[in-house]
């Protein structure tokens, strides 16, 4: 597999961060799509999958921060937990892609995505509880409610993100994995 240069990985990360700001704006005018597909998650997950854990982590931290600075979304109240959640997504996705090599790109992507989303959501749920409602019972409530309400978005992401990765490979914008 051909490796991308440090410069290229850096610029892809920059573009992913910019998309964290732009995508929610694009979906803002489409009623309800924003809450369903969680537009800020997509560039961060992609960045982690394609560029690795360091860049994924950076995208996860900088994306929501810049989005808040430029568009006010997410509101500052939700910013810390979003940053934590997306940082975990980017980091774990990147780590998983480094560690898993099943020789099938599809499988690699799915495993990485599912693991990072589960871990990310749990960590975010805990963070949310710690910030807003510390207490053993509330933590369980927050985490479960976060999971249950988020699942349509998760399913769409699981279909959409591999589709984007394959499109990028076909267009030769990122190297083939195997």
């Amino acid at each position: 597999m051909k490796k991308m240069s440090y410069v290229k990985l850096s610029i892809i990360t920059a573009v992913s961060i910019a998309l964290c700001v732009v995508l929610p704006m694009a979906f803002h005018s489409i009623p309800n799509a924003g809450s369903i597909i969680l537009p800020m998650h997509i560039p961060v997950l992609l960045c982690g999958l394609i560029c690795g854990p360091f860049f994924g982590l950076l995208a996860g931290l900088a994306g929501p921060l810049l989005s808040n600075l430029f568009t006010g979304m997410p509101p500052a109240a939700f910013l810390p937990q979003m940053m934590i959640e997306l940082a975990v997504y980017g980091l774990i996705c990147g780590l998983m892609m480094k560690m898993i090599r099943t020789k099938k790109v599809f499988v690699d992507l799915y495993i990485s995505l599912i693991v990072s989303i589960i871990i990310g959501r749990v960590v975010a749920g805990i963070a949310k509880a710690l910030i807003f409602a510390p207490g053993n019972f509330t933590m369980a409530v927050w985490t479960t409610s976060y999971f249950v309400t988020g699942w349509p978005g998760i399913v769409i992401q699981l279909v959409l993100i591999p589709a984007v990765v394959f499109a990028l490979m076909k267009a030769k914008l990122i190297p083939e994995r195997y």
């Binding site: 394959f166 499109a167 076909k170 267009a171 030769k172």
Partner: protein, 283 residues
């Protein structure tokens, strides 16, 4: 389909807070089967005009009538609008996203009420019209094609809908001379078959040779509209004319006999033959 534009205005606020009057009281009409070019300087409102005609923007004031019906009226069927008007934007290859060429071209037919056999026939026709071998190209990934092929697939995607009106925004920008010629001939053939063509272009020669009418915009207003030849001849000695006109003008310096009636390269060749060889008939 008859397009009538009545007192159309479009105003918006740009990111720095300024009010922009993109179009001001524009009125014109485009007859069925017309081949109309839209020209003007960058920022004069050409793209805004076609976006309004295609129903992608809502006018601030004024109306657009398609066969007598206001397209912005609540009762107007939007699906019908999409099937009747096809738009090819600049660098249309950007819109490709499907896994196979066949699927991407089929995208525009998603909401048409055609059966699957009819859809396949349309897709085949559209791709063959754009110069592809249907069986070879259909299962390929559109994203792995060359730049030129991508553009042709994107245009096929719009053609497949068989719209009665086709709008092009600077379609030959970035094409080599062969590409330009092939494209303009294709569009001309579509026009001969009855499709109304509206084309924004900066290429005066292409417009001079193929279009029947021109609409000239400046700062959001229509400053001229009419037959192509009349408009170019009116500019004859101006730098806004076509290249053959400018060449004829240079050759004419000193003697005024060459420039009359020269708009296209064919005209120029005939004028030279007339001048130098005494040929009388224009083929």
């Amino acid at each position: 389909m008859q397009i009538t534009i009545d007192n159309l205005s479009y105003t918006y606020t740009d990111p720095s807070g300024q009010t922009v009057h993109a179009l001001q009281s524009v009125s014109c009409s485009i007859d069925p089967g017309d081949f109309t070019g839209i020209i003007g300087r960058t920022g004069c409102g050409k793209t805004t005009l076609i976006l309004l005609i295609a129903g992608l923007l809502t006018p601030t004031k004024g109306h657009i009538f398609l066969d007598g019906r206001d397209i912005n009226d609540k009762s107007y069927d939007r699906n019908l609008l999409r099937q009747s008007i096809g738009v090819v934007f600049q660098y249309p290859e950007v819109q490709l996203f499907e896994t196979t060429v066949e699927k991407d071209v089929a995208f525009g037919l998603t909401y048409s009420r055609l059966g699957s056999k009819e859809k396949e026939d349309r897709i085949e026709w559209a791709l063959e019209t754009m110069g592809f071998d249907f069986e070879k190209i259909r299962k390929q990934s559109p994203l792995a094609l060359s730049g030129g092929e991508k553009r042709r697939v994107a245009i096929a995607g719009v053609l497949a809908v068989k719209p009665k009106i086709l709008i092009f925004d600077e379609p030959i920008a970035g094409l080599d001379p062969y590409g330009r010629q092939n494209f303009m001939e294709l569009v001309s053939r579509l026009n001969d078959d009855g499709t109304t063509i509206i084309m924004i272009s900066h290429n005066m020669d292409a417009l001079a040779e193929y279009t029947k009418r021109l609409i000239v915009l400046d700062e959001g207003k229509v400053i001229q509209s009419g037959k192509t030849r009349d408009i170019f001849l009116g500019w004859g000695r101006d730098t806004r004319g076509t290249e053959p006109q400018q060449i004829a003008s240079l050759i004419s310096k000193g003697k005024n006999t060459l420039l009359d009636d020269v708009v296209t390269y064919d005209d120029l060749i005939f004028a030279l033959k007339k001048q130098l060889l005494g040929v009388e008939q224009h083929e």
